[in-house]
């Protein structure tokens, strides 16, 4: 955690992030979600799109907010062939959680952030799962494993994004 604190303290100065970077990351997340996952890997797969959306909603709430998250949710609905609005609803709530926690999360180190992120992500998973449950009347409990792995993904993803953002500044 020392490393995390270190990076966090240096990130006090806001660094510019290009729109290109934001949208490429979301695009890549959609792509990774779209890889042919199957069986146990599908259950363990973190929701890359949710984690990336949450990251941007938390760090740049004025650039990437609830509306864009909803749009990405609709695209995810089309690509996953889920009901229209199922991902969109879950990602809307996720984005709201990110926007609300924006200022608080900046003060926390990564471990504390991860606890909050876990809360938001589990809410997202519960919404998605309960929509499915209402429609079809059954649910796979193992589905909620994805919530844990998504939280675990949060830590390396934040570090990587921060490092990329710093590099960008140095290059300029």
């Amino acid at each position: 955690m020392m490393l995390a604190r270190d990076i966090n303290s240096r990130s006090v100065i806001e660094r510019p992030v290009s729109n290109f970077f934001i949208f490429t990351s979301v695009f890549i997340a959609l792509l990774i979600n779209g890889l042919p996952w199957g069986g146990i890997w599908l259950l363990l797969r973190p929701d890359f799109v949710a984690v990336v959306l949450l990251y941007w909603c938390m760090h740049k709430p004025w650039r990437f907010g609830i509306g864009l998250s909803w749009t990405v949710g609709i695209l995810a609905d089309v690509s996953d062939a889920s009901l229209f609005g199922q991902h969109a609803l879950a990602y809307t709530v996720l984005a709201y959680g990110g926007v609300v926690l924006n200022h608080r999360l900046q003060m926390f180190d990564l471990r504390q952030q991860a606890i909050h992120v876990f809360g938001i992500l589990s809410l997202t998973y519960i919404i998605y799962g309960s929509v499915h449950w209402m429609m079809s009347g059954h649910i796979t409990w193992l589905y909620f494993l994805g919530c844990l792995t998504s939280t675990l993904l949060w830590i390396p993803l934040s570090i990587a994004f921060l490092a990329m953002r710093q590099k960008r500044v140095e290059n300029e």
Binding site: F27, V100, G146
Partner: protein, 306 residues
């Protein structure tokens, strides 16, 4: 919650709570409309054009992996391939002989049916398709195949492999279509026990390799290792195609129905190429009044339940 309040003098548009409520309600509305009325299929197929490049790129690693596997196979196992080729050729010759007999039988059958003034059994044509994506939703048993509207594939057509029924087309996109597998929870297929012609309905259990024969009385004559074939009564599935094999029959007199577990015969989860059957014969029109239960079963689709 309202850390945003202090920034109000910059015009930022509606507050985040308002946005949350707006988009959440809009999503719920979409959910309702999509689940109840299915008005949004054209929107979905329009948006799928936007998403399909992502899906196409995402399927590359899988394709590369398969190609690498094929390359390894051809490089390292030439001997076994030659042997396999030989055995396949033998099989083809054997099948050809049987096919000749079949043609004779078919002609005979048609003639007999004509004599009895029974409607003729139609031939159907099959299209070869390739699976491009496996299911990505934890809750659903679905795959996507590489042909859609462009190849004249329609909703409701039956998908099978060389051994048995695999599923049914449930959604058609411009270049893709979606197959719901028979193992999807509550997916129903009307079947017949091959041994004695007993009719029943086989339901998916949501498990990869399990089907259950529901609503079969305890006294019904179903045994382990019985083969279930499609009965063709619903007009969706052609008759006589193998579906599943019974693996266990538990008769508990407490319950009115026996609990019968079956194994799907078709390689529901392990093939790359599948056949889509088209040109199915038109069904004779149903009488107007019919019990709702048989209606749901005859559609053979999960959607009717949702």
């Amino acid at each position: 919650m309202d850390s945003t309040q202090s920034f109000r003098f910059f015009n930022r548009g509606p507050s985040s709570v308002a946005r949350l409520v707006f988009f959440a309600v809009f999503s719920l509305l979409l959910l309702f409309v999509d689940a109840r009325y299915r008005y949004l299929e054209s929107t979905r197929s329009a948006l799928s054009i936007l998403v399909s490049p992502i899906q196409r790129i995402a399927s590359w690693p899988g394709l590369l992996w398969q190609q690498a596997g094929d390359l390894y196979l051809t490089q390292s196992r030439q001997h076994s391939l030659i042997a396999e080729n030989d055995s396949l050729q033998q099989k083809v010759q054997l099948n050809a002989a049987q096919l000749l007999q079949l043609q004779a039988l078919q002609a005979e059958n048609q003639q007999l049916r004509k004599l009895l003034e029974q409607p003729l059994r139609h031939d159907f044509t099959a299209k070869l398709v390739e699976i491009t994506h496996a299911e990505r939703d934890v809750f659903m048993r679905r795959v996507r195949v590489n042909k859609g509207e462009n190849a004249d594939i329609k909703v409701g057509q039956v998908v099978m492999d060389d051994v048995g029924i695999v599923g049914q087309i449930t959604r058609v996109y411009p270049w893709l279509s979606e197959v719901t597998l028979i193992t999807e929870k509550n997916h129903a297929v009307p079947v017949q026990v091959l041994r004695n012609g007993l009719r029943a309905i086989v339901f998916g259990s949501g498990n990869t390799s399990e089907l259950s024969l529901s609503y079969t009385p305890v006294s019904a004559d179903v045994q382990k290792d019985d083969i279930l074939v499609t009965s063709g009564i619903d007009g969706l599935y052609p008759p006589g195609i193998p579906v599943a094999k019974v693996i266990s029959v538990v008769r508990d007199p407490v319950y009115p129905f026996a609990s019968i577990t079956c194994l799907p015969l078709g390689g529901v989860d392990n093939h790359r190429h599948l056949l889509v059957l088209s040109d199915m014969p038109e069904q004779v029109e149903r009488p107007l009044k019919e019990p709702t239960k048989s209606k749901a079963a005859s559609r053979g689709m999960t959607r009717s339940k949702q």
